[in-house]
Amino acid sequence: MLELRINGFGGQGSVTLAHLLAQAALENGEQGQALPFFGVERRGAPVRAAVRMSPTTIHAHSQCELPDYVVVMSEKLIEEAVSEGITATGTVIINAPHAVAVGKHPTWQVDAEAIAREAGLFSADGLFINIPLFGAVCRVLNIPQKVMEQTILNKWPGSNGELNLGAARRAYNTVTQVEDSGFNMKVGCW
């Protein structure tokens, strides 16, 4: 069973991102689960969501305390997200405009904001960065591009789907693994 946690801010679309990933698991012939943590939501407050994928029935119903993957929707949350829990060899996927590495964790970076802006994915709060992040996470999880695209088209048939598809595809193909850049977990800076 693969476990993944999304750390973001309220309004960034982490619930939809979790739903898309769970739906992609089903589209990929596996079982999927999206379990967002619903608190007393406020825009801008830190939020999290759990995602699980497994070839067999998923019985877990807790938040992912020790996930294999952590998706960080904002650079500002890196330290908080990682210190909340990740396996020793867990992978981190970060939305950032530049390369960021997190200690010894394999780290991937994607500029979801720039991709969303270029694709014209404007939301009431800014940008739909969850769409490119979905593409990027699928790539890191080795979910076939076709499965990723079908998941988007299932959810948004029509022109919205096409718009989202372009952004997700771009992220799928530009997310890159980062060399160790020496992020210091203890002090939370480079």
Binding site: H19, A22, L26, Q31, Q33, A34, H59, H61, S62
Partner: protein, 376 residues
Amino acid sequence: MKAAQVTMETGAHAAALAVKSARVDVVPGYPITPQTSIMEAVAEMVENGELHARFIPVEGEHSAMAAAVAASAAGARVFTATSANGLLYMHEVLHMASGGRLPVVMCNVNRGIFAPWTLWADHQDSMAQRDTGWIQYHCSSNQEVFNTILQAFRVAEQINIPVMVNFDGFTISHCLMPLTVPPQEEIDRFLPPHEPEWRLDPAHPSSFSNVTNAPEYAPFRQMLSDDIMAAIPLVKQAAQEYKDITGMWDGDTIDTYRLEDAEVVAFAVNSMAAELRLSVDILREQGIKAGLLRPRLYLPFPAEDIINALPQNAQVMVLDRNYNFGHPGGILAAELKSVLFGRRNDITVKNRVMGIGGIDLTRRFMADEIRAMMDD
């Protein structure tokens, strides 16, 4: 024959789809977190014509259950849903439904109760309704919620007793999982249209639930008590026939995992009992012969099935997500001890309360708790 459809649904939406599949006639509804998503989905289905039912928006839960009672007495198949303080506000009318022998089915999406306010799950709300004369299921997955609502209608209408289908707020109600919806013809075969023996009908006026003298009142109450106990074989039959038709099985009165040779048995309900399967695997890896017994039916409490299922000399670790105020520990432990007394003196029962107000119950935490309880 059409194949079953698998889609990704939240637990709340799974409940709404079951309401649609059951071809419910009347749905009175009042919103309360985390149940609201069920009523929103059902209202939408009624609005867009997917479900041919009357949706009655009311001004509170007491009225929601009053409307459910009236519609059921008029012969309709009735569903409603609530949570926490909404359920408590219904308390008086819950007795009206059971005493009136009305087969209403209600989802209670478990949430801790006020005060202080909490939005998240524990089981104080449903277990506080123990003595209302309702049958109570507790479900541990989205699929089980769907399956159980259909089984609940069948049992309720066979025996004229209302049924409460409980599941955890957020960890089930807002959790997106694959859901298999069997073809409608299979569901129709399992759950035929509701044909009450009696109904309120303006064309044939009659009185209902009038004042009774003790010689009439007492037999009514005795009958209710006897019939609730008689629900156990019907619950088993419903689970078995549902399996024969759809191929799906969640257990009948109880559900077990790695129980046969277990020396340490985890005993819990709802979503924590699903997670406990993973705790059992962890404990097994550590060399502890662990197993799980999950009562799917909380009321009537499946005493005989529990007594027969527990391995010899087992230590039973009851993990209660509620308080039994006035006693140490929780309600499930007290129920279990009462049925084991004098019947299974080889069994040791230990108990801890956890997960109150939605505190996250992880597989590792519960495995650690169970290991620690071995030394209690």
